[in-house]
Amino acid sequence: MTGAPVTGARETGGEVTAEPVLRLSDVQVRIAGSQILHGVSFDVAPTGVTALLGRNGVGKTTTLLAVMGLRPRTGSVRLDGESLDGLPTHRIVRRGVGYVPEDREVFAGLTVAENLRLAERGTAEPRYDPVFELFPDLRTRLRQQAGTLSGGQQQMVALARVLLAENRLLLVDEPTKGLAPQVVGEVARVLERVAETVPVLLVEQNLGVVGRLARRAVVLNQGRVVHDGDATALLEDGALTRRLLGVSAETGARK
C-alpha cells in the first residue's frame, strides 16, 4: 500500500469552503528510529465531525498525539491559522484544543469530582451545568473513585473533562472502544450533540458511529493520507471501504 495515490481528492469531496479549524501540513513523526507518520497533511472542517480512519497501527492515534504536542514531530499544525508548532501540550490545550485520549485515561485513584476539578482551566467559569445535563449519571457519582467506574462511565468522565471548558476543537480517540452496544449508542448521541457547537476530529473503528456522525473522512495507511473526502460517499462504496479499511460499513455497523 505504500505510496498508494490519494483517492477522493479534496476538490471532489466538496463543501470545505470555510477556513479549516485545524490544518496539518507534512507532519512527520519518528519514534526510536522508526518513521510512524510520513508527511501527513489534511484539514479539519470548522463544523461537524471529521473522521480519521484506517486499520490498526496506521498512525491515527500518533497523529492526534502529535497535534497535542505529546509526540515530537516536524511539519506544521495550525489552529484557526495560528501555528501550534513548538508549543508545550498545556499551552495547546489552553488555545482551545480538548483531547479525549484512547482508553479514556481517567485518573483511576482520584474521585470523579477530582477528575473534573483538574480539568478546570481557570480562565472561565467551568461549565458544570451543561456537562451534568449531558451526563446526569456523573452527578450522583462525584465521590466515587474513577477507577471503579464502568468503561462507559469512564468515557463519560473523559468527555466531561474536556466539555467543562470552552474549546475550538476536540480530538476524540476511539470513544466507543470496548463498550457495550447500548453504551456505544449513548456515546454517539453525546458526540452528536457536542459536534453541534464545536468541531471534532474523531478516530473511530465503529463505522456505524462514523456514518452517523462524520461528514468528512480522512483515511490513513502506513503513516500517509490515502483518502480524503465525503464520509457518506466513502462508506457507501463497499469496495473502497474494504480496500482502505479492511471492513465494509455494514459489518462495521453491526459490531
Partner: protein, 292 residues
C-alpha cells in the same frame, strides 16, 4: 519489657528521620520519574546550615536548636528549588540526564561541605531537656526521640493536607498516576515539579537538622548514609505514596533497631535489605503503591 519500649521509641525516631527524607524522594520520583541522588546532599546542606546558624546566634540551647532547625529547613528548600530550576528543568523529559545531574551534584556538594568545614563531626546544640528521660512502662525514654517522632507525624499530616486539600496537591496526585494526561488537561506540570522539589528539599533539610539533634553531631557523609535507607523506604512503601513512605519508614526503623539489639549489631542493616527483598518478591509495587 522496658528494653522493648526503648527499642520501639528509638526505632520510630529513626523511622521519622527516614520518613522525612523518603517522603520528598517518593513524590519526586512518583511525579517526575527522577531518582534524586542529590536528596542526601540537600539534607547535608541543611544539617550544616543549621549547625552554622546555631553557632552564630547566642542564647539558650533551645533557641539555638530551633534556629538550626529553621535555617536547615529553609536553606535546603531554597537549594532544592534552585537545583530544580537551573539543573533539572533544562533537562525536561531526559530522565537519565536528570538522574546523572543529581549524582554529580551529590558528589560535588559532599566535597564542598568537606572542603569548607572539614570532615570532623560538628556538634549540634541539644538542650538538656531533649536528652533528659521520662519513665514510660518502666523504660527511660529520652525526650528527643519522642520529639523526633512527633515532628515526623506533623510533617506527614502537612503532606497529607497538601495532597488532599490543595489544587497543587491534586495535580501532584494525578501526575503521579499519569503525567502526560495532566498536561493534556491544560496544566503546566513543571510548576508542580518545582513545588515538589522544594517541599521535598524542606523536609530533607528538616531531617538534616533533626539528625544533628538526634545523633548529636553531623558529618559531610550524613546525607548519603541516610539516603540509602530512604531509598529502601521509598521502594517498600510504594513509589509516589507519602502514607506508604511513613508506614515503611516506621517498619524499617523498628526492624533495624530490634534486630541490631536481639541478633547482633550490624544485622539490622542486613535485615532491612532482606525486608526489601521480601517486599519486592511478594508485593513489587510496595506496601501502599499502585501496581505499575
Amino acid at each position: 519489657m522496658s528494653t522493648v519500649v526503648v527499642l520501639a521509641v528509638t526505632g520510630l525516631g529513626l523511622g521519622a528521620l527516614y520518613f522525612l527524607i523518603a517522603s520528598g524522594l517518593s513524590l519526586i520520583f512518583g511525579l517526575m520519574r527522577v531518582l534524586n541522588f542529590a536528596h542526601g546532599a540537600v539534607l547535608g546542606v541543611g544539617a550544616y546550615l543549621g549547625w552554622w546558624a546555631s553557632v552564630h546566634v547566642g542564647g539558650p540551647a533551645t533557641a539555638r536548636m530551633l534556629v538550626a532547625v529553621a535555617a536547615g529547613t529553609v536553606g535546603s528548600a531554597v537549594l532544592a528549588a534552585v537545583v530544580e530550576l537551573l539543573l533539572v528543568r533544562p533537562l525536561y523529559e531526559r530522565e537519565v540526564a536528570q538522574v546523572l545531574v543529581t549524582v554529580g551534584l551529590a558528589l560535588a556538594i559532599v566535597a564542598l561541605l568537606s572542603g569548607i568545614w572539614g570532615t570532623d563531626p560538628k556538634v549540634y546544640p541539644v538542650p538538656s531537656w531533649m536528652t533528659d528521660t521520662s519513665s514510660v512502662a518502666g523504660a527511660l525514654i529520652p525526650h528527643g526521640r519522642v520529639v523526633t517522632v512527633l515532628v515526623g507525624l506533623a510533617v506527614l499530616g502537612l503532606f497529607v493536607l497538601f495532597l488532599r486539600r490543595t489544587r497543587y496537591g491534586l495535580v501532584v496526585r494525578a501526575g503521579v498516576e499519569n503525567r502526560a494526561m495532566v498536561t493534556a488537561l491544560g496544566i503546566d506540570v513543571r510548576r508542580a515539579f518545582t513545588l515538589v522539589f522544594t517541599l521535598g528539599g524542606a523536609a530533607a533539610g528538616l531531617a538534616g537538622a533533626l539528625a544533628g539533634v538526634y545523633f548529636g553531631s553531623v558529618t559531610p557523609g550524613l546525607g548519603s548514609s541516610l539516603l540509602i535507607y530512604a531509598f529502601i523506604v521509598v521502594v517498600i512503601g510504594g513509589l509516589g505514596s507519602v502514607p506508604g513512605s511513613a508506614l515503611a519508614a516506621a517498619v524499617v526503623g523498628l526492624v533495624q533497631q530490634f534486630t541490631n539489639y536481639y541478633a547482633a549489631s550490624g544485622i539490622g542493616d542486613l535485615s532491612v535489605v532482606l525486608l526489601l527483598a521480601v517486599v519486592l518478591l511478594v508485593r513489587p509495587q510496595g506496601l501502599l503503591g499502585r501496581a505499575l
